[in-house]
């Protein structure tokens, strides 16, 4: 959406404007991202889209606009410019990836749930516990039919066919019951343990249980005939238990010997050994339950025994793992047994994953939210939705048009043609297409709208339209991937160095017809990496300096006499840039085509409809809307009316209340809500804007001064303020420095002296060395932490001041300000790291 991170740069020139001050303005509304927004934002608890979310969303927004008597013109996206298609393609690819991962998350979710049910069912059986576990198991086994198990188990294997995930519930149910039956034995034991203080925690029993489940599932594989399952159960009972005894009793049983047994038998042995161990431990517990000392003794000995057993089992597993082929062979030999065996091994894997899952069982919520997010990102906008919205607009009597290409570009042209007073868009592209007044976040619940003016961009940031396009090329946008490694601060410095100002340049006029020239130089610089070249550049510079000196002395310039002439574009700025960023040369990656003139063309001469036909607004069709909303949303008339009637009443008033803002308050008087925090960025900005560097320097002086100087600043600010109040328009000329000063002064004032000192120190610090984040003294810590906590939220360049208008003074905790900072320490911390 738009140019990456450009809004962060623009934030400081934005102003807080009362929604009501937009009354009676004609605004072009860029609808291009609305649908996507609605689909992404309007979700129920499950993460599914609210039905007809786009209709509800659009309806609310239209009502808001009309309520404030704004005259909107809705602009839809037409085609996608060729140049954007590439980016769109990569977006689509991302979306496809997302769809796959939705499926994966779904699988993990199911697993997590199964795990939960496992535990639950275990405890259910526990309450109704009876001694006939085995019988129960035998009953259950036919239910969880082997085939289904195989399918289910296969589902746990990564990369298993998706089919496995469409199974009817029966299969899952079968498995669950199976697990339940199997778990009951353990559960009972677990219960006993819990009764007697339960030292062996849940974690242990869970693992045991799941291991047991795996063994139990492998059992059928041992049976040669499925029909004889129950019989075999009995057989197994008598037979393998003895083997289990061996494993348990005889510590010297060679694991290798065990491993050499056929896999089926191994499992039986281990299984029965475990069972025997459990029985033994129960027997040991029973008589001593009344005596705590004996009881704990028994517990310890049992624990030792079972851990020995577990050791053995795990070593057996290792042996098996080492010798996987043999296992495979055993399975292969089984012929008819194969599916069952694979089911068994599948469960082995499943069990392991299972154990993994038990670790983050609590993360189910997190998984769910991830699922929601992925679902959200996978959703797309359909043509049908667009038509729904257009129909709604017709009912409201609001004019709309479909742009030939990009909606933002069309909005900007409408403004240039004088058909609208401003553009409502959340897309920073708008400025690149030539919009002059952009309103953002107009649909937020807040009372204020963020307003941005191209004039402010030029005056305060020194950014003309061409420069913005250059920024887009560096940062990346809908049309280009950008330069890898270049962030907003660096991008501004590049623009500063390689796009020097020219006097008397027209607004949209393209510099010498070749807007990309500046960045071509940048690329030349970037590509021109060779240590010798660097040296020669420096030598050149020196040479030129010398020559200039010579010229100054004897005024006889030897034109072109030098054999080594530096390129015309190697200006002072370029060299300053060079010395600062020379290590970045190797790190910044540009594409082959950079800087693509086509991108400049796409932004500066977009394909638009330049018709000057004026628009008309109709009266909302109340009955039509009632019917339409009843159909689409199932809203009763009362619901529709509750939204529409207040709006209609406002619209019908012939007398409207004007506001003082329109008489006494110029746009420039509106409060700004953010400030550039990064000193580096400030400098880059200052160099771009005419006469800005002096002002900044002055500001820095006062800042690095002592406290006295700061109070002076307050005085000055006060005078500025007073003068401005009387002066009315004279204030506009004073420009924003006074404004900034005043705000700064106010902020300083609110701080207690000690805190102020810290502030000063901190400023000095950030003025001085950029990489000094480690040098924070303990007195700084409080402040650091205060800001640091917010830093994590999101890195920005500007400090967004979203606090409520008033707050108590001198209250530290009461700082309701949300700070999105990227001040020097951080900015250069990260960027320097990249450069050094």
């Amino acid at each position: 959406m738009g140019v990456h991170n450009l809004w962060q740069l623009l934030l400081p020139v934005g102003r807080r404007v009362n929604v009501e001050s937009l009354e009676r303005k004609t605004l072009a509304i860029d609808v291009s991202i609305w649908l996507t927004q609605f689909i992404k934002a309007m979700r129920d608890d499950e993460g599914k889209v609210v039905k007809n979310a786009h209709i509800i969303g659009t309806f609310r927004r239209i009502v808001k606009l009309l309520f404030y008597r704004i005259r909107p013109i809705f602009v839809f996206d037409g085609g996608t410019p060729e140049i954007k298609r590439r980016t769109v393609m990569s977006r689509k690819r991302r979306r496809e990836d997302q769809e796959t991962s939705v499926r994966k998350t779904a699988q993990r979710l199911l697993l997590a749930q199964l795990k939960k049910q496992h535990i639950l069912s275990g405890s259910t059986v526990l309450t109704g516990a009876s001694g006939k576990n085995k019988k129960q198991k035998a009953d259950l086994e036919p239910v969880g039919s082997l085939g289904a198990e195989a399918g289910f188990a296969a589902g746990f294997i990564p990369g298993a066919p998706e089919k496995a995930w469409d199974p009817p519930d029966a299969e899952v149910a079968g498995r669950e019951e199976f697990v339940a039956g199997d778990g009951s034995q353990d559960a009972r034991k677990g219960a006993e343990k819990v009764d007697g203080h339960g030292i062996n925690g849940d974690g242990g029993s869970i693992r045991q249980r799941s291991a047991a489940a795996a063994f139990a599932q492998a059992l059928p594989a041992a049976a040669s005939d499925e029909e004889e399952e129950v019989e075999w159960e009995e057989e197994e009972d008598s037979g393998t238990d003895d083997v289990g005894d061996i494993l348990l009793e005889d510590d010297n049983v060679d694991v290798m010997v065990l491993a050499s047994l056929p896999p089926e038998l191994q499992k039986d042995v281990v299984e029965s050994a475990k069972r025997r161990q459990r029985m033994l431990s129960r027997q040991a517990f029973m008589p001593v339950a009344g005596n705590p000392a004996l009881y704990s003794q028994a517990q310890i000995s049992n624990f030792l025994k079972s851990s020995r057993l577990n050791q053995k089992v795990s070593s057996l597993r290792e042996v098996l793992g080492d010798d996987g082929n043999r296992d495979e062979g055993g399975i292969g030999a089984g012929g008819k047994d194969q599916p069952e065996s694979s089911a068994g091994s599948g469960t082995w894997q499943g069990t392991e994953e299972y154990e993994d899952m038990s670790r983050d069982l609590d993360d189910e919520a997190a998984l769910r939210s991830r699922m929601r997010k992925e679902l959200r990102d996978a959703e797309t906008v359909s043509q049908e939705m667009r038509e729904d919205i257009m129909h709604l607009l017709q009912l409201f009597g609001v004019p709309y048009l479909v742009a030939p290409m990009e909606a933002e570009a069309q909005c900007a042209v409408l403004e240039t043609l004088g058909l609208v007073d401003g553009v409502v868009s959340d897309d920073s592209d708008s400025f690149l297409f030539g919009a002059r007044a952009v309103y953002k976040n107009i649909f937020d619940e807040r009372k204020y709208v963020e307003a941005y003016r191209a004039e402010d961009l030029e005056r305060e940031l020194g950014l003309k339209r061409v420069d913005l396009v250059s920024l887009a090329l560096l940062l990346g946008s809908d049309y280009t991937e950008g330069v890898k490694g270049v962030g907003i601060v660096n991008a501004m410095e590049v623009v500063r160095a390689f796009a020097p100002r020219e006097e008397g340049e027209g607004e949209t006029e393209v510099r010498g017809g070749k807007p990309e020239e500046g960045l071509q130089h940048f690329k030349a610089w970037l590509d021109g990496f060779d240590p010798l070249g660097d040296l020669s550049l420096r030598a050149d510079r020196k040479l030129v300096d010398d020559r200039e000196e010579d010229e100054a002395v004897d005024k006889a310039g030897e034109e072109g006499g030098s054999t080594r002439r530096r390129a015309a574009w190697v200006t002072q700025e370029v060299e300053a840039f060079h010395s600062k960023h020379k290590s970045a040369r190797t790190r910044w990656v540009v594409t082959e085509r950079f800087p693509d003139p086509a991108i400049y063309r796409a932004y500066l001469q977009p394909q638009v409809n330049a018709s000057t036909d004026s628009f008309t607004w109709g009266v909302p069709d109340l009955d039509g809307l009632r019917v339409h909303l009843a159909q689409k949303l199932g809203w009763p008339v009362s619901e529709t009316d509750s939204h529409l009637l207040p709006m209609l009443r406002r619209m019908q008033e012939t007398v409207w209340q004007s506001r003082l803002d329109s008489y006494f308050l110029g746009y420039q008087d509106n409060v700004k809500f953010a400030k550039i925090k990064s000193k580096r960025l400030q400098r880059a900005v200052a160099d771009l804007k005419p006469g800005g560097s002096i002002a900044l320097e002055k500001e820095e002086n006062t800042e690095s001064g002592q406290e006295g100087a700061e109070t002076m600043e307050i005085e000055n600010a006060r005078k500025n303020r007073k003068g401005s109040r009387q002066g009315g328009n004279a204030r506009l000329c004073e420009g924003t420095n006074a404004d900034v000063n005043r705000k700064e002064a106010q902020r300083t004032k609110a701080l207690s002296p000690s805190k102020k000192m810290r502030r000063v120190q901190k400023r000095k610090k950030s003025l001085g060395q950029c990489s000094s984040s480690s040098g924070g003294s303990s007195s700084d810590e409080g402040e650091e932490r205060e800001e640091g906590s917010v830093k994590g939220n999101g890195r920005g360049i500007a400090e967004a001041d979203t606090r409520v208008p008033a707050r108590l003074r001198g209250r530290r905790g009461g700082r309701g300000r949300k700070v999105v900072i990227l001040d020097d320490e951080e900015a250069s911390g990260s960027e320097h790291m990249a450069e050094e």
Binding site: N18, E20, S21, T654, V655, W656, Q657, S658, R659, L660, D661, S662, Y663, F664, L665, G666, D669, N670, V671, E715, R718, R721, K722, S724, R725, Q726, G727, G728, N729, R731, K743, Q746, K749, A750, P805, A806, R807, L808, R809, G810
Partner: protein, 259 residues
């Protein structure tokens, strides 16, 4: 150090009463010249501007200009603790977190002091042009209050028409309509305070919301006279001069008829 002492403490009470319904929070700027305050109501339709000259106080000292961010409702609560005859003293440090109010009973038997926490209030600063108005009407404040109160019963919007003959206040509402015309008093008529005087360059007609005019008349106890300043298509100024110390002025943006 800021210190201001008013023998007539009730004046401060009246001023706060006259503002607090319109504006909840405001910055009061204290300078050598005196106290000023400028604040808009939440919907930015009206503005209240207070001006108190230093000479109007019994004692006034302000070493350095400070700005007091006040919650007016809270200030009103504290002022309720002052007796009507009390001498009120305001005090604040150079970089204040609080404003101290001291009330002394006339016979010095009772002295109370209160501290009000200050706030940081960020406001838009309006550049109000120092403009000459086409019409200036001076009339008894009680009379104006009565007209506003009466018309508010009938409708929401009041049309003020100023001609040479007099000022006409018209209203129309669901139940009907009404007009009140106030004529210019002849020079001989009694007390100057009760006179209606009209200075006019050209006739002016403007529409205003009676609700806001109602808020303004809360200042009636502050003085016997009210002055209305009007020019076409700009906000009206309703000014209440406060004897000997300054004035309180209200600006109200007109309602605009589309037809």
């Amino acid at each position: 150090m800021f210190e201001a002492r008013l023998t007539e403490g009730s004046l401060l009470k009246k001023i706060i009463e006259a503002i607090k319904d319109l504006v909840q929070e405001a910055n009061v700027d204290c300078s050598e010249e005196g106290l000023t305050m400028q604040a808009m109501d939440a919907s930015h339709v009206s503005l209240c501007s207070l001006n108190m000259r230093h000479g109007g106080f019994d004692h006034y000292r302000c070493d350095r200009s400070i700005s007091l961010g006040l919650n007016l409702a809270n200030l009103g609560k504290i002022l309720k603790c002052a007796g009507n005859d009390d001498v009120v003293t305001l005090k604040a440090e150079d970089e204040p977190d609080t404003l101290t109010l001291m009330f002394e009973s006339p016979n010095q038997e009772r002295i109370s002091d209160f501290e009000l926490k200050l706030m940081d209030i960020e406001t838009e600063h309006l550049g109000i042009p120092n403009e000459e108005y086409k019409c200036t009407i001076s009339m008894p404040s009680g009379e104006f209050q009565r007209i506003v109160r009466d018309l508010a019963v009938i409708g929401e919007t009041c049309i003020i028409t100023c001609t040479k003959e007099g000022v006409k206040f018209s209203v129309s509402g669901d139940l009907g309509n009404g007009n009140v015309t106030v004529r210019q008093s002849s020079a001989a008529d009694g007390d100057e305070k009760d006179q209606v005087k009209i200075q006019m360059e050209e006739p002016v007609t403007l529409n205003f919301a009676l609700r806001y005019l109602g808020f303004f008349t809360k200042a009636t106890p502050l003085g016997s006279t009210v002055k209305l300043h009007m020019s076409p298509d700009v906000p009206i100024v309703v000014e209440y001069p406060i004897d000997g110390i300054g004035s309180i002025s209200y600006f109200l943006a007109p309602k605009i008829d589309e037809d």
